[in-house]
C-alpha cells in the first residue's frame, strides 16, 4: 500500500512556518519516512501540474500556511482543497490572517505606494508598481512580443477559511513543536476531533504561564507600559505590571514561551473557541481592570495605550468581526 500523500503550501507568509516543520528536527524523520510529500515549494521541486494530475481527495492532508492575498494563492488553495481529503490551516496567518492581515487597516493601493514609491530607501521616480500583465520581448527577435502575466493582488487579506473549507487549524506564529507533532500523529492514526477544531487546548494561556501564580486577585493598573521602555520584572505577571500581555485572551498550547523570555504575549495563537473577536474581548478585559472610576483619570490611563487596534488585533485582524478598516 502506498504511503499517505501530504502537501505543504505557503501563501502570504514569512517562511517561519516552513521553519517550524524543519524545527521538528529528529521528530520529523519518522514522519518523513511514513509519508509521501507531494508538494513543498521551499524544499522540493514539485509543480502545480503534478497536483492537477492527482485524483480528487488523493492527497491525505494539505498543510497550508500564510494568508490569501493574490489570485495565484487563491487558485492554489482551491486546487489543493479539491485534491485533498483534509486541509489544515497551518499557523496564524492561515488561521487568522496573521501579520499580513494588518494590511486590512489600509488598502492594497496604499501598501503598493508605501513599498514601491514612498519608502525612504526606494528610488522609483517613474512610480512603477508590479502589474498583472506586461509586454515583453520573446527571444532575440525584438519584433516578437509576448504577454507576461503575474498574479493580481487583492485589496484585502483573507484567512484561509474565508476562501476554502478548512478541516483543522494549527495555531501559532509559528505553531510550536508539540502541537505540530500532536496533529501529525493524530492525522496519521486517524484519531481526529470534530471537523473545524483548533488543534490546541481550548483555554487561555494563563493556565500554562509560570507567572500566573504571582497574579494578584485584583489588577490595579494605573498605566500601560511598553516592554522596551520599562524594566520588566521577570517574576511577576506581566499584565499586572501594566504590560499589554494578550495571554488572557489567547489560546494556550505554546507553553508561554514568550513570557519565559520576559516578553508579553502577542496573541498569535488566536482566541479560544467561545470568542468571536480576540481584539474586542481583550479590550473588554483590559479596560475593566483600569483602577479608577474617575472619567478624566480613565482617559489618562487609556492614553498610555498608543495603538489599541494594532496591539489587540496584531494577528487576528483579518478574522475579526470587522476584518479591517473601512476601505475608503
Amino acid at each position: 500500500m502506498s504511503k499517505p500523500k501530504i502537501a505543504f503550501y505557503w501563501c502570504a507568509s514569512c517562511g517561519g512556518c516552513e521553519e517550524a516543520i524543519v524545527d521538528l528536527d529528529v521528530d520529523i524523520l519518522p514522519v518523513v519516512g511514513a509519508v509521501d510529500i507531494v508538494l513543498w515549494p521551499i524544499a522540493l521541486d514539485f509543480k502545480k501540474s503534478d497536483i492537477e494530475g492527482f485524483q480528487d481527495g488523493e492527497i491525505t492532508v494539505s498543510f497550508i500556511n500564510g494568508a490569501v492575498r493574490t489570485e495565484e494563492q487563491q487558485e492554489m488553495v482551491h486546487l489543493l482543497r479539491k485534491k485533498s481529503k483534509l486541509v489544515v490551516a497551518f499557523g496564524a496567518c492561515s488561521q487568522l490572517g496573521g501579520i499580513p492581515g494588518l494590511m486590512n487597516f489600509s488598502t492594497g493601493k496604499n501598501m503598493m505606494d508605501e513599498i514601491y514609491k514612498n519608502s525612504p530607501i526606494v528610488n522609483n521616480t517613474e512610480g512603477t508598481i508590479p502589474r498583472t500583465k506586461c509586454e515583453v520581448d520573446l527571444g532575440d527577435n525584438k519584433d516578437e512580443k509576448g504577454e507576461l502575466t503575474l498574479s493580481g493582488m487583492f485589496n484585502h487579506v483573507y484567512p484561509l477559511d474565508q476562501i476554502i473549507d478548512v478541516d483543522y487549524y494549527l495555531p501559532g506564529c509559528a505553531p510550536t513543536k508539540n502541537i505540530v507533532v500532536g496533529a501529525v500523529n493524530a492525522i496519521l492514526t486517524g484519531n481526529l476531533p470534530a471537523k473545524g477544531t483548533v488543534l490546541s487546548p481550548n483555554k487561555a494561556l494563563c493556565e500554562e504561564c509560570k507567572l500566573n501564580s504571582t497574579k494578584p486577585d485584583k489588577f490595579t493598573i494605573k498605566e500601560f507600559k511598553r516592554p522596551h521602555l520599562h524594566k520588566v520584572d521577570p517574576d511577576k505577571c506581566l499584565l499586572s505590571q501594566g504590560f499589554i500581555c494578550m495571554g488572557i485572551a489567547t489560546r494556550a498550547g505554546c507553553g508561554a514561551q514568550c513570557i519565559s523570555a520576559n516578553m508579553p504575549c502577542e496573541g498569535c495563537f488566536g482566541p479560544t473557541d467561545n470568542v468571536k473577536d480576540q481584539g474586542a474581548k481583550f479590550l473588554s478585559a483590559v479596560a475593566s481592570m483600569i483602577d479608577t472610576d474617575d472619567e478624566e483619570e480613565i482617559k489618562r490611563v487609556i492614553d498610555t495605550i498608543d495603538d489599541p487596534a494594532g496591539y489587540f488585533y496584531r494577528f487576528s485582524l483579518a478574522s475579526s468581526i470587522l476584518q479591517g478598516k473601512e476601505n475608503k
Binding site: G108, M153, N155, D277, A280, S284, D293, P308, I321
Partner: protein, 148 residues
C-alpha cells in the same frame, strides 16, 4: 420609497434604567425615528464590545450604549466598567475608521423619557449626516484587485 439615507441604529439598553427611559419616552408619546432598535440586557456592564462590532457588521450605521447614571447602577458599578470599555472602544474604533458620532455612550435614568428621545434623535441625525457606514467586508466581497 425615498432614496434618502435612513440610518439603522442599534441601542443597547439596560433593564433598570435606560430601557425604562425608553418606555418613559413611549408613555410621553415622544417621537424618534423607527430606524432605532433596542436590544435589552440586564446591565450595561453586560455589553461586550463584540456586540458593538457585530452590530456594525450586520448593518448598523450607529450604535448607542445607554446605562444608568454613575452611582445609580442597579448592580452597584456595572456602568463604570461600561464607561472604561467605551472610552477605549472609541479610541480603537477611530483606528477602524468608524467616526466618533457612530458610537455613543450616555446615561439615561428610568424616568428620563425626554433625555432618551433627545439622545436617540441627536444620534440619528449625526449618523445620518455621516452617511452609511461602509465596513470593509462589504466593500471587498468582490475581491477587487489593486494592480491590474
Amino acid at each position: 420609497m425615498s432614496d434618502e439615507f435612513e440610518p439603522k441604529i442599534i441601542a443597547f439598553v439596560c433593564n433598570w434604567c435606560s430601557y425604562g427611559g425608553a418606555d418613559s419616552a413611549g408613555n410621553s408619546r415622544l417621537k424618534y425615528n423607527s430606524g432605532v432598535k433596542l436590544v435589552r440586557v440586564m446591565c450595561s456592564g453586560r455589553i461586550d464590545p463584540q456586540f458593538v462590532l457585530e452590530a456594525y457588521k450586520n448593518g448598523a450605521d450607529g450604535v448607542l450604549v445607554l446605562g444608568c447614571h454613575p452611582g445609580d447602577c442597579h448592580y452597584q458599578n456595572g456602568n463604570y466598567k461600561t464607561l472604561k470599555r467605551a472610552i477605549l472602544m472609541e479610541k480603537m474604533l477611530d483606528q477602524f475608521g468608524i467616526e466618533k458620532d457612530r458610537f455613543i455612550l450616555d446615561w439615561v435614568a428610568a424616568s428620563e423619557g425626554q433625555k432618551f428621545a433627545a439622545v436617540v434623535n441627536q444620534a440619528y441625525d449625526n449618523v445620518k449626516a455621516l452617511g452609511p457606514l461602509n465596513i470593509r467586508t462589504l466593500a471587498t466581497s468582490g475581491k477587487e484587485l489593486v494592480n491590474e
